[in-house]
Subunit: 300 residues, 3 copies
């Protein structure tokens, strides 16, 4: 498994495991710790969380498992996020799911995450969504305090467009080490809006969510999905892939931006698919044929 | 009234008075000078003009009033603009309203403004609109000359998108100290195109025109206007505002970009509405509920 | 003919001749060399190629002519491009026209261009199209090697949007000296997306392809074409142009970005039209009336 350096003392496995749906898997702590160990054996050492996953429950499930084998903590990198507030029993007075990037909320959210994850530190904290009401000075204050207290080692963002990334970065004392964005053969927003260009320009490796297009690629009968699926099958046959999942992972893994796809499955077989994909190679033409299938028109 | 620093020796009142419609108010010079004094008493010391307002008449009306009490000049900041040429008796040969950002036109326009305003200096001169035919070197030459001659103290732009702002700034010897843009719960262009991000990045406080959405919010039966109006009423009740005007002003005033809304009314009661709004507070969620109402869809 | 400096030791004629359709002109080498000499006499010393023009044939036709009078080489500047791969007898295995910006392809392409053009060096090499799969480090490696070997003097891009330009530039050891973009009264993409702003900001002069809107302006009955044609005729009468071609060239030549239109005709009379245009002047208002005709709505 290729390791991606994000900062002087931070390296991620190129394939990341995502715990978005952990609460739906009905794993016991013992089962989960076994699963985590299997991931580590496959070379996947980086685990992606957010405070809100599973309605504020996934971090805690993970933390309960980790407590069974605390010696694993040093072998893995934990990513989590803050900045979204969900209407929920946790925040009963809210009228709407919304964003909160105040210093107070960031600090509170990280404290909860540390408690839920049963760890002393988070390797990487991300602001979950760009917030048009964000005060970058408050974010900077919060980040400085969290780093000083040893609660968070590194900082990044998620779903940030270039102007948002540059704006926040300007106010921070430390570099943003990633931008977690959605990219797949069905989702080119960040190619089209310059985000991928900016990350290549700055040498910042993106984490990639929904690398399998949220699964629609397997089932949707939309014209776009049918077109992309057919091309993925065609390329899969050419490069010796066992499934179109592998092709989609490979398509991200070979891109020069050091994309780090997040695999969100609780089945180790599906995780292995992503690992298998890292052994595939793809020509420039094959990569672009998938891109063209996703666009729905030829290159100019 | 909060004061916003724009440069080392330039501070604006956060609420600015705009003279766009001065020619329609039928005020005598005596009435206008009383009105200006009332504004100053309310803490509003910054007055926004443009050469073209009122078909090239508003600056002169203001200047005639100011001549009655020249000692007020030092107590206020005068903003004016250049760069638009209107088909008019002033330019009888024009075929079309258009932009002129030539050195010659800028210098001529400022000389007219000084004469009309009956003052020796303009505190802040703005290029009124981005001009696809703008030669930034000519603008830089004009700005240098005007600053050296003491005719203009500081410079800025209006309605500039990020690429236009960066381009002009690169050619100037002095910083652009503001960008006067349209923002309201019905107008998010500058959130969506990165202008607000760039201004936050650079620490440049924007002046805001049409903060009340040009009044459509009060009368329009469009789906968007009805939706936003209803939310403004709801939030108004929550924060103790006396009117939806106050809510709209507060929505701008609490934003971290140091937005400076321009109040364009000749009725002191309506001006007081904006001043009242500066005493209101608003939570992150309330701010975003108005944003969501303006977008017409939930946050992602 | 105005000369445009692109770098310390590189100057182009503001009007450039483009050999895109050379293979269709059925010129003998003798006829072509005469044509080139006529261009030089008109002050046009810069010639624009691409590896792929004429299905990989145009460079060779030009090179065969140049071989008749090798002393012309020092009097002209040769631009060529790489990075597109066409389905063709040259690449029989391709499934699709696509982009290849690998180091290997760039080096191979330049070697072919040198051989076809029968020259030892290319003055300016452009990456033909932005490639979402581009590895900027590979491009940088290729450029460094080509410059060191003396095969290419300067480097640039074509059709790059701002984020793509900035991204590649960041990885290069030398400045990109141009961006060849499509601009005409029917094509404002690069005004609207900030490319022209970025080039003005950086002082990079653009080469302009399709300056006559691909000819549609002369024949199309679309509403836009009729509207623009009518305005070009009106302005032509005002400025003393002999044809709307001249007006279109003049519209580019007077823009402050130092635009360098590429004339793609094999008829010297049509080339002279562009040269004539460089003697015309145009007011700010006239320039913007054409812009407004192209937009289809008034300036804000």
């Amino acid at each position: 498994m290729k390791r991606i350096p994000l900062a002087e003392n931070l390296e991620f496995s190129q394939i990341i495991h995502g715990l978005w749906r952990l609460s739906e898997w009905n794993m016991s702590s013992e089962q989960l710790i076994s699963f985590i160990e299997e991931c580590i054996e496959l070379g996947i050492t980086t685990f992606d969380h957010a405070d809100i996953y599973g309605g504020y429950t996934c971090e805690e499930i993970f933390g309960n498992a980790l407590a069974l084998k605390p010696e694993l903590r040093e072998k893995i990198q934990i990513v989590t996020k803050c900045g979204i507030k969900l209407k929920s029993s946790k925040f009963p007075d809210l009228k709407m799911n919304h964003y909160d990037t105040s210093k107070e909320h960031i600090l509170m959210s990280v404290n909860n995450s540390l408690k839920n994850l049963q760890t002393d530190y988070i390797d990487l904290l991300l602001i979950h969504r760009p917030n048009p009401f964000m005060n970058p000075k408050e974010v900077a204050d919060a980040f400085n305090q969290l780093q000083k207290e040893g609660k968070v080692r590194y900082f990044g963002v998620s779903n940030f467009l270039p102007s948002q990334f540059n704006m926040l970065q300007k106010h921070l004392d430390m570099p943003l080490v990633t931008n977690q964005i959605e990219v797949s053969p069905m989702q080119f927003e960040h190619f089209e809006k310059g985000t991928v260009d900016l990350l290549l320009e700055k040498g910042v490796a993106p984490m990639i969510w929904s690398p399998l297009a949220g699964g629609q690629i397997f089932t949707s009968q939309s014209e776009a999905a049918v077109r992309v699926r057919s091309m993925l099958e065609e390329i899969g046959a050419e490069i010796g892939a066992n499934s179109i999942d592998e092709v989609m992972y490979a398509w991200l893994l070979v891109h020069p931006a050091n994309m780090m796809p997040i695999v969100g499955s609780g089945k180790i077989e599906r995780v292995k698919t992503a690992v298998e994909a890292s052994k595939l190679s793809m020509t420039s033409e094959q990569w672009l044929r998938i891109y063209v299938a996703g666009m729905g028109h030829n290159l100019p």
